[in-house]
């Protein structure tokens, strides 16, 4: 067993491939992000649960004077965000194969789409804010809190993209490879939560 890989020392494509090949279990960083995702998922599910709890406290949902949410655009936006999981997963595969070029390109591509998604969502949010206020009814409070909570996680994902891209300028090390895989996993979580949050948000209209 003396030739056990010193994984954190690996840098450059060939060494990364070697580390990946004889790795028996997921690296520490992978477990770290999985557990962070577990807490963030619990947090978002608690907010979604609150939405339904408050829905059951009301006979009229959404309250009189507030229009039921429009369905088309949010569903399209959700689809767009789901698509960004593809380049992120490909980036994770590329980084495990030690190919830093494609990894950077795929992350940049995903980041552009995600940034666009966030921009559109902020515009939609502004429009909603003109229609009804979070400080008027419990419906408004939970509606905006749930959406902003998910947008915050999208924003954090963008910051992570920027952070890993800065790190990748200096080439690929195992530490950064695990970083890319972790961020890909984080985006899969954000996209999955997008489905649950959007469907809950649109539930009065579905």
């Amino acid at each position: 067993m003396s030739a056990v890989t010193r994984s954190t020392e690996a840098s450059g494509g060939a060494e990364i491939r070697g580390v990946e090949r004889n790795r028996l279990s997921q690296p520490n960083g992978w477990w770290g992000i999985v557990l962070l995702i577990a807490t963030e998922a619990t947090l978002l599910l608690a907010i979604v649960g609150t939405y339904y709890y408050l829905r059951f406290q009301a006979t009229q949902w959404p309250p009189r004077g507030i229009a039921a949410p429009s369905v088309a655009l949010p569903l399209v936006m959700m689809g767009v965000l789901l698509l960004t999981s593809v380049p992120m997963q490909l980036a994770a595969v590329a980084t495990r194969a030690g190919r830093v070029g494609p990894t950077r390109a795929l992350i940049v591509l995903a980041m552009l789409v995600q940034a666009g998604y966030l921009a559109v969502q902020i515009i939609l949010l502004r429009n909603d804010l003109l229609d009804f206020s979070p400080a008027a009814t419990a419906y408004g409070s939970i509606y905006f809190t749930m959406i902003v909570a998910h947008h915050a996680h999208v924003a954090i994902g963008l910051l992570l993209d920027v952070g890993i891209l800065i790190r990748l300028i200096g080439g690929l090390t195992d530490y950064r490879a695990v970083g890319v895989r972790a961020i890909a996993l984080y985006w899969h979580f954000v996209n999955l939560m997008a489905i649950i949050v959007v469907l809950t948000q649109l539930s009065p209209s579905l």
Partner: protein, 635 residues
């Protein structure tokens, strides 16, 4: 390896490890440390300081209740004191000391690792805990302490009925504390999963580690729900949202549901590490392996899991539908079985072993006695009508003090004595230890047992005073006297341990002939813990002599010594097959910087300066980027 290594090759390897793992001396060393042992000691002293504060608050409460209609404290002061007593003892003492101090210090040692999986994250969780404690106590200092109880029910905690900043200190302080504990629990889980010494498969992991695995998962899933309830509360209070405001569609019961979904796992989080400490101490002093090892390991995991399905037994009197309460009553009864398994396994281990009743084992026997009484009164609360009669009375105050003080703090005090020789290299004074035990045991019994009777006599909890002619006076006097005896016992412990720091007899590496791996190191252990990662073939590694000889041979051969840097092995999750060697970061200034940045953010949120809070958050993001700029292998 602490054993006298004769060969020069082994000696050279140990010297090389000494140089690599040498820590920066002085204050700067402590501020930037990432060594799990130093962080454990920082946690220990900070949480003991908060224990002192919580203790003073408790004595103030007992002095105010010494007799009917006393005016030691005004009602407003009394409410602030009992709230701070609850918040301090739960969030700033019992969890940080058991997870932060005992867990941080001992877990890497017990699984044969050189540090936690994420050392810098470990330092961050301490600095955030210390900052959140100071944040909450600044509230008390400026006279804006929370005064709506530790579970802070709405609408009393809403802006209308608690207009001052007290509740904001509570909410933001606990979100901050929650981040620290969540981060720590993730760190513990990855450490237990990935850093166990090669060969330590799950059936060979000490029970102490099962308790910490269970408590970490409970923390991981409970704290986010608390954060959600507190975020909603802050949005209600500061921005006029309506989560809990019935007039606009909100519901006060939403707070109770969210809080207790966190609240009940929280009280199991308090007691699980104590189970871990007890299952470490008993085999040592009884000189035999734990009876029914798999069942005790299972029991600790089960308590944490079912703990998430019982929360509404705190809400049986709020008018939920009977069918709803039946779900929670059923789960509240089934959760008795894990405690039953553990209690019976401990007692049978003591009966079938040859117990030597030194101070640590005395504390654990005291723990067993209190845990039986506290557990039995706990079962009674699973009977819905009985709970509806006695919730919010002194009977429930008696129950949870038996289960928190008797059943969580006693093992902590026992653990302080048990691992004192390992942490300091000196032995505490045995006679003084026994006296302080019996004093504290009597004090605890006299303070908290009469509360059962007071509860049955109909005295509600959280009353700053009580009328003369209710038949409660005698028991309250008894309790207050008991609380002074209890305080005396605790002071005596502090004197014993402080005195033994210098004048205690040198303890050597393994004074108790204990089974777990921390006793394989010197006292106090070197920064790198193990010169060679120990071989493991049972949960009682120190009681397998052939493994220890194998370690000596490994050290000479240089196998598993890993002296090319801050290195530790990683292994697979279930069977701990050796997988890789990873480089660990050493001292780093980033954890304390991030904690300071976040403190600034929370202070600005408290004062509703949203923009400045955003600036601090941006600063925190920059610190995170810098944090990841220096990668471990470049350290």
């Amino acid at each position: 390896m602490a054993t006298t290594t004769t060969t020069t090759a082994a000696r050279a390897r140990v010297d090389r490890l000494e140089r690599i793992w040498e820590e920066r001396p002085g204050l700067l060393g402590w501020l930037t440390t990432t060594d799990h042992k130093r962080i454990g000691i920082l946690y220990l002293f900070t949480s003991l300081a908060f224990f002192g504060a919580g203790g003073v608050e408790a004595l103030l409460i007992r002095t105010q209740l010494l007799g009917p209609d006393k005016t030691v404290l005004t009602p407003q002061q009394y409410d602030a004191v009992f709230t701070m007593h609850g918040v301090t003892m739960i969030f700033l003492f019992v969890i940080p000391i058991s997870i932060g101090a005992f867990g941080n210090y001992l877990l890497p040692l017990q699984i044969g690792a050189r540090d936690m999986a994420f050392p810098r994250l470990n330092a961050l969780s301490f600095w955030m805990f210390a900052a959140s404690g100071i944040f909450i106590y600044i509230g008390l200092a400026v006279g804006q302490a929370p005064s709506a109880g530790w579970f802070n029910y709405v609408p009393l905690a809403s802006k209308t009925y608690s207009p001052n900043l007290g509740i904001d200190f509570y909410a933001l302080g606990l979100i901050f504390n929650g981040i620290s504990s969540t981060v720590a629990s993730a760190n513990f889980i990855v450490t237990i999963f990935k850093l166990r010494a090669p060969g330590m498969s799950l059936n060979r992991m000490p029970l102490f580690c099962y308790a910490f695995l269970a408590v970490s998962f409970a923390l991981l899933f409970a704290l986010p729900v608390l954060s959600v309830s507190l975020i909603f509360l802050e949005l209600d209070r500061q921005l006029g949202f309506h989560f809990y405001d019935i007039a606009h569609g909100g519901d006060p019961l939403l707070w109770q549901h969210l809080f207790w979904i966190f609240g009940h796992p929280e009280v199991y989080i308090i007691i699980l590490p104590a189970f871990g400490i007890a299952t470490s101490i008993i085999p040592t002093f009884v000189r035999r392996r734990m009876v029914a090892f798999p069942l005790v390991a299972l029991a600790e995991l089960l308590v944490a899991f079912i703990g998430f399905g019982v929360w509404a037994h705190h809400m049986f009197a709020t008018g939920l539908s009977t069918a709803t309460t039946v779900y929670f009553a059923a789960a509240s009864l089934v959760i008795v079985i894990p405690s039953g398994i553990q209690l019976f396994a401990w007692i049978m281990t003591i009966v079938t072993g040859t117990p030597e009743f030194k101070t640590p084992l005395l504390w654990i026997v005291g723990f067993i006695v209190f845990f039986i009484i506290g557990g039995l009164s706990g079962i009674m609360f699973a009977a819905i009508p009985f709970d509806q009669q006695l919730t919010d009375t002194y009977f429930v105050v008696a129950h949870f003090h038996f289960v928190i003080f008797g059943a969580a703090v006693f093992p902590i005090l026992g653990g302080l004595h048990y691992w004192f020789p390992k942490v300091t290299g000196r032995m505490y004074h045995e006679g003084l230890g026994k006296v302080s035990f019996w004093l504290t045991f009597t004090g605890t019994m006299v303070t908290f047992f009469p509360m059962h009777i007071l509860g049955l006599l109909g005295m509600p909890r959280r009353n700053y005073t009580y009328p003369r002619d209710m038949g409660w006076t005698g028991f309250n006097v008894l309790e207050s006297i008991g609380s002074y005896v209890l305080a005396a016992g605790l002071v005596l412990i502090a004197v014993n341990l402080a005195m033994s720091l210098r004048r205690g007899a040198p303890a050597g590496n393994d004074p108790w002939k204990a089974p777990t791996l921390e006793w394989a190191t010197s006292s106090p252990p070197p920064p790198y813990n193990f010169a060679v990662i120990p071989a493991v073939s049972s949960p009682y590694a120190m009681w397998d002599p052939e493994d220890r000889e194998k370690d000596v041979r490994n050290l000479e051969a240089g196998v598993l010594v890993l002296e090319q840097g801050h290195e530790t092995p990683t292994s697979t999750v279930v069977d701990a097959e050796w997988d890789e060697v990873v480089e660990m970061p050493s001292d780093s200034p980033w954890p304390i910087s991030l904690a300071l940045a976040l403190s600034g953010m929370f202070a600005m949120l408290l004062l509703a300066h949203w923009v400045t809070a955003g600036v601090f958050l941006a600063f925190a993001a920059l610190v995170l980027l810098a944090w990841h700029s220096k990668e471990p292998q470049e350290a």
